[in-house]
Structures are given as structure tokens and as C-alpha cells.
Symmetry: C2
Subunit: 318 residues, 2 copies
């Protein structure tokens, strides 16, 4: 039997999985990223995890290690050009891992890897033209064109959350204004909920927070909405409209056959998928809207490690 290793390396946690050659998870571990200790320490943490996961397996049964990393990854070299979450610039991640573990190593952007996993084993199997929209603290995109992940001229494609949907809107870090993720991400939803409470709006969210605004979560808003809380219902309506407006743009620009939606906000408020579909039907051009279906991602938190394993598998193909 042969195995693949998939790693999902983020600013808060490192997830590591051992999979079979169909990228099915056999073992799955997570540890908290010791981000403050610097790059070498984090790489060592990751290597410890991989060693533990593969302990006792014959060396030659491990076909390779795939790493899904938050940030901009240079295609080919596996260098992390920039990762705000990990506070890295120009870090030769692939080489650092390969030096310590004698396996083939492949590194990709975490959102792209999640899209790759959905494309090969999830809710996008067999799709030729698809856009994966992951809504969490930000909004990330994985673009599939002609059945392959599209990375752009330099590996930077898919930064859909930084497209403006309000050109004259609030300033965003990085120089743009009115970025989509500033309106429609989980962070934005939570911020607007807290702002409404600050303005004195009546809502059961106030009691649910028990005086701690740090407890505001998308799941809490979904729970309150289900119980009839008007503010929470309005926030979900608005988020559906805002997510749909950005998705309609992607439909008009790229005419995909499928929009696949995942990430923590979609897991927390799954009804957003249907709302986004309705907004696309209203906002996008008629023919392109009629041709697209909106579906929910198959994988949850494990999307990154599965995609990273797929990356290893694809590398072994001609």
C-alpha cells in the first residue's frame, strides 16, 4: 500500500493527514501553529507532525508530501513569496522541508489546494469551468479552467476577495477600496452585527454574547436568525446579497458551469448557497446565469489537507 501526506499550514493551526492514493484521509492531526517562534520552528513543528503520522510506515510507501500554505506561493519553486498570516516573505518552504525529510515535496496556496481537492474528489468532480468561493475570515477563490486549476501568469490568480464591489467604498489594506471581502466575509458579518448592537438595535445577540463582543461568531448569528432574531436575519439577507453580487461578477466575467461555495461562513450558514444562487439569477447576464449552478463544497476543515494530497498525486502523473 502507498500513502500521501497532506499538510494544511495556516497562521493558527497546522493540520496533517495521511491519505491513501485516492486522497481518502486515514489519519488526521492538528496542532496550534507556534507562529511567534518564527519560520524554522514552524517548519520543525510540521516535520514532527509528519514524522509522527508516518511513523512505522516503510519509507518507500510514502509517495510525497503536499503542503497547502496560506499566502502567495511561487509556482515550481515552492517558495512562499508572501504570507500575511504567517508573517513570511520569500521563504523557501519546499526546500526547507525537503532538506529534512527525504520525500518529494510540493507546495501550493491553501485556497487553491482546497479547490483542487473539490475538483478531484469533492463537489466539483469532472467540472471543466468552475469557480470555488471560500468564505471565512476573508474570501478566497480557486478558478478551474478547462479542468485544471488556473493560477494566472505568476501563480497569483484567484484573489477574488480583493476585487472591489464598491469602488468608492471604505479603504482596505493594500490600497484598494470597497473590497468584496470587506463586505461579505465572516469578519465583515461579525463586524456589522457588533456595529448594530453598538447602535442600540434590539437583538437576542446581545444576551447571547453575555457582554463579550469577542464571542461574536457567524454561527451565533445563524442560531439567532433561526430563532427569529430580526437583526440576524437581516445580516444574513445582506450577506447573501453581497456574496451574490460578487459571484454574479465572476459569472459575467468567466461564464463558469459551476460556482462551488465553501469555508466557515458557508458551513455556519448553509442557506447562503441558495441565496447566492438567487442573486446570481437576478444580477448576472441571463444566458450566463442560466448556465451556472451553485453548489456547496463537499469538504470542510479538511479541504486543505485533501487538496495538498491531490497535489502530490497530480505531480506523479505525466
Amino acid at each position: 500500500m502507498f500513502y500521501l501526506v497532506g499538510v494544511d499550514l495556516g497562521g493558527t493551526k497546522i493540520a496533517t493527514a495521511l491519505t491513501d492514493t485516492d486522497c481518502q484521509i486515514l489519519k488526521y492531526e492538528t496542532v496550534r501553529t507556534e507562529a511567534s517562534r518564527g519560520a524554522d520552528a514552524i517548519v520543525d513543528q510540521m516535520i514532527d507532525e509528519i514524522r509522527r503520522l508516518t511513523d512505522g510506515l516503510p519509507k518507500e510507501s510514502i509517495l510525497g508530501i503536499g503542503v497547502a500554505c496560506a499566502g502567495l506561493i511561487e509556482p515550481g519553486t515552492g517558495k512562499v513569496l508572501y504570507s500575511p498570516n504567517l508573517n513570511w516573505r520569500d521563504l523557501p518552504l519546499k526546500d526547507m522541508i525537503a532538506r529534512k525529510l527525504n520525500y518529494p515535496v510540493y507546495v501550493g496556496n491553501d485556497v487553491n489546494m482546497a479547490a483542487l481537492g473539490e475538483l478531484h474528489y469533492g463537489a466539483g468532480i469532472g467540472k471543466k469551468h468552475m469557480i470555488c468561493v471560500f468564505v471565512g475570515t476573508g474570501i478566497g477563490g480557486g478558478i478551474v479552467i478547462d479542468g485544471h486549476l488556473y493560477e494566472g501568469a505568476n501563480g497569483f490568480a484567484g484573489e477574488i476577495g480583493h476585487a472591489t464591489i464598491d469602488w468608492d467604498g471604505p479603504d482596505c489594506p493594500g490600497g484598494n477600496a470597497g473590497c468584496w471581502e470587506g463586505f461579505a466575509s465572516g469578519t465583515a458579518m461579525q463586524r456589522r452585527a457588533l456595529e448594530a448592537l453598538d447602535r442600540g438595535e434590539t437583538s437576542m445577540l446581545r444576551e447571547m454574547l453575555r457582554g463579550d463582543p469577542g464571542k461574536m461568531r457567524v454561527e451565533l448569528i445563524a442560531e439567532a436568525a433561526a430563532k427569529g432574531d430580526a437583526l440576524s436575519q437581516r445580516l444574513i439577507d445582506e450577506t447573501g446579497e453581497l456574496l451574490g453580487a460578487g459571484c454574479a461578477n465572476l459569472v459575467n466575467i468567466l461564464n463558469p458551469e459551476r460556482i462551488l461555495m465553501g469555508g466557515g461562513v458557508i458551513r455556519g450558514v448553509p442557506e447562503l448557497v441558495d441565496r447566492v444562487e438567487a442573486v446570481i439569477q437576478r444580477r448576472a447576464l441571463k444566458d450566463a446565469a442560466a448556465a451556472v449552478e451553485v453548489v456547496r463544497a463537499r469538504f470542510g476543515r479538511e479541504a486543505g489537507v485533501i487538496g495538498a494530497a491531490v497535489l502530490v498525486k497530480l505531480a506523479g502523473k505525466p
Copy 2:
């Protein structure tokens, strides 16, 4: 010697060109589209033009006819699914032409054909990842991916002018709000100029129009701006910002190596190209912005016929 025929079929004019096999124009004619007389009459007009253009040439020297048509074209069949400019729905244009002229016929969307011409013989030669942005009465896009025109799942890709840059903005025909072309097209620029005059703003445009708002043109605004007219200069500044905001979105989403800008507004106000580049540098993500160059299209009004000839040429290739 062999020849190609390229036709650009729009709501106001039909341009027809005879080219050599390098898509160089040898003869070029335009006639006014007799749009009110219906589809059969327009197709007859086009066929008359093609016959006149190819008169005296041996039948076997004409390799085929390419038609660049405004509207949504079904790939493969050459059927016009919808053309607002020509007021057509589900018109089998390719078959109608082929029935009367015994040549191979190929039909493509006019904006896509203009992009194809630039890709093969214009300002985009050899580019793998490029977005062509044509700014005229609307804003149309031609997306080049991996060196090929990208048409999407159903041939509808590239409708960049209908992406919103103000999700809560003014309603647009078709259900969306705040569409890019509603802010940054030539039509929008002229509309804002007239609105400013209506509000009583001081501007030499008022005298230049001689009381006829119908005379408002982008060229006029450019002329007034060159003479120091503050309103016209502000309109150009604003249009640069608005065009740049939308282009920055395309850069963030698709990471192209080149943005190619053409169309009547760019011909009328060429300085917009540099302005758009500056806005992209400010608004788009740093790495993607650093990787893109913004250039002016090579072809002008003849872009459509050249691209249509390229379509014939490509069809002859394996």
C-alpha cells in the same frame, strides 16, 4: 495567392475586409447597417459586400469567411443567441451565410474577435495570459488564457462591463446594479459631462456643443481637457479611476501578464492607458500589480475584421 474575408457586423455598420493569409487588410469597405429591414435584409447586405470584395478572384483562392458579430454567439454552430444591437434572437447566422455563399463560414463575438486579432497580429502577440478591455459605448472584454481566447463554459465569458463596481449603485438593464460600464464607458463619460452642464458648471464644452447635447463626444471632452477645461479634466480623471478600479479587479482575479486597452474611448483619450496603469498599481494586490503591464491596442476600427480573418485562419489549423 490565397485570401481571407473578415466581416464586422454591428448595429450601425457592416465593415468587410479582404486580407492576405497574414490577416493584412488588402481591401476594406463599410456600409451602414439597414437594421430596420430585418435579419434577412442585413444578411443580404453582408453577402453583397462580400461578393463585391471578392469579385474577380478565383473561388478557390478564398479560404473562408469570418464574421465578428455583436452579441452572444453559440460556439460551434455560429448561431446568434442574442444580439441587442441587431435585435436578434436565435438567428442561425452561419448557416444563412453559408447557404448563399459556398465558402466555410465562422462566426464569433465581435469583442472576442478584436481580442483574437490583437493576440495574433497586434499588441498581444505571444502573450499567454492577457485581458483585452475595449471601452466604447459599453465595456467589452476578451480573455486570453494559456495563449488561447477563453470563451467560458458556453461561449459567454468576457462580459466584464456588466460586473458591478458599486453593488448598491444605480440599476442597470438586465437586473444588476452599478455595472462597470455604467460608470466608465464612453456613454457614461458623455452622460456625466451633460449632467454637469445641466447643473450649471462652467465649461468650454457648453460653447463647443453650440446648444446641441447630441454633439457630446469623448473626443470633444479630450479636446476641451487639452485646452485646460477643468470639468473635462476632472471627467478624464474620474474615468481613469473608474476604469482602473475595474481593471484592478481583473488583475486580482486573473493575474494576467498584460492588460490591453482599446476601443473608441481609448482612441479618443489615449492618456487613459497610463492612468489605468497607475490605478492598478495602487489598487491591485502588490505582486499581481507588479507583474502586469498595460498597453494600448494596435488596431482601431478595423480590429473586428482582422480578428474575424484570424478566426478563419485558426479554423484551418490542426
